[in-house]
Symmetry: D2
Subunit: 134 residues, 4 copies
């Protein structure tokens, strides 16, 4: 597996901010998911097409460390690095950094698994290839 | 601090489901937040009023274990238990259970801190009282 | 078609409010949609099941009059009345009223049509029955 | 007032799609709002700063015609044109077009007004200047 770090540029939209005037905590998961799906697409995997083919990539665990709050108009990048976790699971290691200064705003680790048509964990070949080896 | 467990009943709304036909991962944080704010209100603390008074309750960390997926029309409860974590921090221990069977769908631990008007962590008296003592 | 008015009780959740401290304009469409789907369910039509059966109820037009803003913690009702509009279309006439005073906050008229598996408008028997006659 | 048309490029994110596999109806209002706020910023008006200064730009009416549905990964533009409507009100005329083909997906007309600190409609000088001219 490569050490490549994939990254997406985004911008805070006002409707994503709550009555505290900062991006709502749940919205960071939207940012992270969007970056993951762009990463998959970059690797040749279309999340919507996978879903239509009854292969479900499912999140098992999300660990999010909120370091600082994004505010209206902020520009930021969301990075994605993927690593295997055991035989069936994988983890996305992600960071959100405010730009242009690169300040770390959030660190995330999203653990997941592929489910087949019957809802059973399996080694989806498409995903294994991404994680895989020599 | 009491061992009281506070709980809110909710129902999945179709717009909360994504193209996988299940509740989107980020939406669980909405559910958890809503239950926390109802808990605070039950304790006499209004989140919007606290915010207007420049006391910001801020999430530092969210650890979410996704056990099973909620689907359209599901009824569920979101529980909230609060505990101190060191001198300044607190944690909300939360569970989402599908009803009426009580099946565990998600476990969450949300760690936070109170920030004063200058954005510095402090022992907000309103919050300390909730966590505290005799 | 009956003059029955169907109504759902809801409560503003803090995360639905934006940096103006009021419910974001887009969220009212979530409220309206949820009430429509509850109305359909009350009539025996499950939106998710219809979708799975490749019958798509699609919105053609939304006309929303914002009369006053809902704020954190507000209780409100969302009403739904359905009427035919020509041979193929139907309209949902909806109101959001703050409770307990009953103050009108939003008036909406949502026009839609049923699409078959090929994406063509058609008289979905399930919907026609709801609208229909003797 | 100029005939200038302002436009923002955006991309559908998977989490914006609902169980029908298309962008949820309410999300188009997010798109439209984001484009309006970018338009205001382009004109020198920061919506968040206006709000902090107790000037509230409030939507009175939204008329949305849904022409076709955006799906995962679609690129699109959201255009904004502003016009006066009487002495106090203004309207944003907006279109969402799928790119690169330019197909019209949604037409919107959003009517609004400026409210002062007391919640009364008034001619906010900042907004009047935008509408104004020779």
């Amino acid at each position: 597996m490569s050490d490549e770090v994939f990254s997406v540029e985004m911008e805070v939209r006002d409707y994503e901010c709550d009555l505290q005037g900062i991006v709502n905590n749940s919205v960071y998961q939207n940012y992270l998911e969007h970056a993951r799906h762009k990463f998959l697409l970059h690797k040749g995997l279309d999340f919507a097409a996978l879903t239509a083919a009854k292969i479900h990539l499912v999140v098992l665990k999300a660990e999010l460390e909120y370091k600082a709050s994004l505010t209206p108009g902020d520009l930021f990048t969301v990075s994605v690095r993927m690593e295997a976790e055991g035989r069936l699971k994988w983890a996305f290691v992600q960071e959100i950094r405010k730009q242009p200064e690169g300040k770390l705003m959030l660190k995330g680790r999203i653990t997941g698994v592929s489910l087949n048509e019957k809802g059973r964990p399996f080694q989806a070949p498409q995903v294994m290839e991404m994680l895989g080896g020599e």
